[in-house]
Symmetry: D2
Subunit: 319 residues, 4 copies
Amino acid sequence: MVIYESIIIMIHNRLSLFISANFKARLTRIGLNNARRYSTSDVSLEKFTSLHSATISKKPIYYGISPSDVAKRASVVITMLPSSPHVKDVYLGKDGLIEGLDEQNFFIDSSTIDQSVSKNVALQIINKGARQVDAPVSGGVVGAEAATLTFMVGASTEADFLRSKPYLEFMGKNIVRCGDLGTGQIAKICNNMLLAISMIGVSEAMNLGIKLGIDSQLLANILNTSSGRCWSSDTYNPCPGIMPNVPSSNDYEGGFGNTLIAKDMRLAVNAANEIQATIILGAVAQQIYNSLSKTPGYEKKDFSSIYKWLNERSGNKEN
Amino acid sequence: MVIYESIIIMIHNRLSLFISANFKARLTRIGLNNARRYSTSDVSLEKFTSLHSATISKKPIYYGISPSDVAKRASVVITMLPSSPHVKDVYLGKDGLIEGLDEQNFFIDSSTIDQSVSKNVALQIINKGARQVDAPVSGGVVGAEAATLTFMVGASTEADFLRSKPYLEFMGKNIVRCGDLGTGQIAKICNNMLLAISMIGVSEAMNLGIKLGIDSQLLANILNTSSGRCWSSDTYNPCPGIMPNVPSSNDYEGGFGNTLIAKDMRLAVNAANEIQATIILGAVAQQIYNSLSKTPGYEKKDFSSIYKWLNERSGNKEN
Amino acid sequence: MVIYESIIIMIHNRLSLFISANFKARLTRIGLNNARRYSTSDVSLEKFTSLHSATISKKPIYYGISPSDVAKRASVVITMLPSSPHVKDVYLGKDGLIEGLDEQNFFIDSSTIDQSVSKNVALQIINKGARQVDAPVSGGVVGAEAATLTFMVGASTEADFLRSKPYLEFMGKNIVRCGDLGTGQIAKICNNMLLAISMIGVSEAMNLGIKLGIDSQLLANILNTSSGRCWSSDTYNPCPGIMPNVPSSNDYEGGFGNTLIAKDMRLAVNAANEIQATIILGAVAQQIYNSLSKTPGYEKKDFSSIYKWLNERSGNKEN
Amino acid sequence: MVIYESIIIMIHNRLSLFISANFKARLTRIGLNNARRYSTSDVSLEKFTSLHSATISKKPIYYGISPSDVAKRASVVITMLPSSPHVKDVYLGKDGLIEGLDEQNFFIDSSTIDQSVSKNVALQIINKGARQVDAPVSGGVVGAEAATLTFMVGASTEADFLRSKPYLEFMGKNIVRCGDLGTGQIAKICNNMLLAISMIGVSEAMNLGIKLGIDSQLLANILNTSSGRCWSSDTYNPCPGIMPNVPSSNDYEGGFGNTLIAKDMRLAVNAANEIQATIILGAVAQQIYNSLSKTPGYEKKDFSSIYKWLNERSGNKEN
């Protein structure tokens, strides 16, 4: 019998289990940010639960000894895992969620993974009698802290979507159903592929113009009021000094790392290859971010640091 | 002695001369559109002037027999020519404007050409005693008909910019000074390079998502409210049926042709090469539009037709 | 008890089974070419065996009713299948080879598939007690007919390699051990990725030079005696008329189709993504061949037809 | 009256003049290498001539005070200048060769510059009554020292070609007429564009294979006996340790620098843009070498160092 609602968050290869009899109240207090701070990379689950109950909410936290154990104890399970093999392992592997589920279980997978794997895993879970949706998230650390994340939900029925919504609303502001199973993944990688392309495009255009002698703020203004306008130019400009509170004005610290966008671009290329879709700029952008994520000094920087890379690899008017 | 204000518009290799004692009043009546309709590709200049005075404004129109003759007759001359060699020829060639100018002449070149040529020509003209600004334009045929064009002005003094403004305001809504001579060209090619990249990016993302099974309108909505948002997605979406009044919903007729954006991209690549700036996606986008402008069925289509091209060159979910 | 040696060749989704008590003698008589001519796309297996024994060798041919049945009847099984899912299905699926094997079985998989899948399947087979090598092939239809194919063999022991060699020598001229399991696949995709890049490079260089006015044969000679020399220029020149017996001089018929190289390029990109290797030109070449394989008039052409595509998408000196 | 034959070599912006009554004998003694060693970057022309006559040939060397002066003193003038503006200046500028020429002058321009500039300059010189050919060179420092350079000659008549041949044979082994004026430039940039593409292609293929676990020497052997074979793989392999006497085995010192190939690629892109030829991989290769020529640690390295760059920007099998 499932008695608890639960959240599993696996970050950087470590499985953290949160079980709560009062899920809603707890999520507002824990938040993704606190969860990370108390992740099991630092402490054991036992220590975490005692630490947590002492310092955060004064309420107990429970945990399972394996995904299948969690599925037995919690009706609603939210997972956020780093890659396709992790999801296959936690859901379908030995002692996976699939081994502990019954028809009361509802799984929300917020991992960003291959859309074909996401759909395939969900179909196997649903085939065993439980329900599942994919709900990848965008908005970054800032969005997580402010609970303004966007969740893109793929659900085989509207009922599944509606069931996921109240849980996701504790963490996000926009909860959108994108269609059938897997479409959450598709929407996310399509958006992020376009984002990567736009960010490189803005960086190339800003860098070219500035090197040719135009004032950076003036050029940003022109782009933002012309047909070049985009989120990467008007909200997250990669040129230092244009906007105050973006990574480019803070030495490209924080934000959305080159490693993460490189991973999303791999997923986009994989998805395109599965159906033989042509994505020329997407393919080049993937290679740019793959190399940038391994360039000394750029590994841990925000993805807008492509501007800095281009700036360093360009001559000047006097050349 | 300069007695008239004048406009020279060279479209597709033919020189059309308009001379008017009452320039402002005439421009509002003639408009770029009428000018084109009566271009000298159809009629001789003599016939054009008589035709014009009879049917449009009941007022006489004058013409010069060469650019140098026009410079002698008109104080303010506006040119809009197809490429760098044309500008060099009309301004600096035999019987060019430079041979007829005196210190009262003011030249406004609205051609989109190589920024280095633009600046170099203007410096030679200014060296001879007249004044000149570069003022490339964006906004397309629609903007020209509605007089809502944007002019990006490069001027060596604020006074030159202010002198150009009232003339440009008859044709455009936004008249922006971008800095010194040549910066109008720089701003334009930077914007259009970013535009080309964004348009291809939106097309790749929309095509990928739709082929993977997500609803096109839903995907457009997600992009437009997420970090993929850009002018090409929210104002000029390349996927047919998303927006009613854009070329993609009219079989890619009208708008901004593949040939024209291919030309602007060549200018961007030339400018980057002059200063050895790195523009990876820009270089690929240039090649994409160069090839598209020569692909059967696409030569005369709007630049958003890259979506159609990608769509035809992609498999489907069932593949 | 295994009593026969056998070859399974699956071409275009159809399974053709050849079983022979006298494998070596038969292969020389059947050849890949005859096998294809009598493939089960046209006739039933029963009809095929009777047809075969009557017309080709006067000796009987046997067949199994499933891969597992074949594994039981034949000790040596050669497979050549179109993609990773087919290999997983034939080897590990229901009624797959894995269900019929014993320690006498030796499997030679000549499919070109994902290197990670190839290795993984072989490890599972070996784990069950049989032996397996990967042996993808290059050389095309011409090489198959002339028995001059190259086989790139990945084997976990030298003994496995030596065991495969006599069988492969009936079909090929160069049988090379590339290292451990999976290295046959790696060698093949690395070579073919380089081939795709070189072919596009030669096509771009030849087309550019010819359009600029240099004689095609002269340019080919210069490239072939300079640092641009490569197999695609000196053995398989993509410009019509340079060499007599290559597809470019036969309207790009025959040879190595755009669809096939597009598939190999997908495998290369997949392999690169698995280890996060940067392959910029490889990624662009993949997109070029993906789109070419879906361009009307190019779907079934040889991969050197990229020259024709470029030629049609380029201006001329007079432009 | 022209009394001497002469060679002008401008290297890195400095003009070195050599005048000799006995040109052939002198070239064999001076050689490009000695000329460089005594270039005017170190010593004045006066000092150079006295130094030269004392140490090398015991014969006097003469010099002119300007290009026009050289044209007056020497009938045959060979130039090798770094870029298009230098050629325009030395040939057509103030005190340029054009001001000193008469019908006895024969100019051989071995600079690698824009093919359109090359042709245009030659036509102006010929129009004034002298003769000229373009004769860009390949083979590098090694070829210059060994006098095994290749000269690609563009000449408007066979007679001009034959006149240039004996002079070029003192420096090179292969002297090829490519066609009319400018075709020497075209042949050179087409070859070098293909070379750049092949070198990146070999580097990507070798790096991918090695990272996937195949032995580097084995992989090189396979490529060199398969359809991936090319000069960059079998003569100048970019992977350290494959071949003993190439830059890759000497920390990428010597050879053909990233800056030089980046310049040639700009010429190729310029030429393609002039006639609107599509060169997709060429355009990407240009950007790769533009950025590499400005990447810390790579500015002065051989162009095969792209292998090292890729190697550092790729994960490993264990990732």
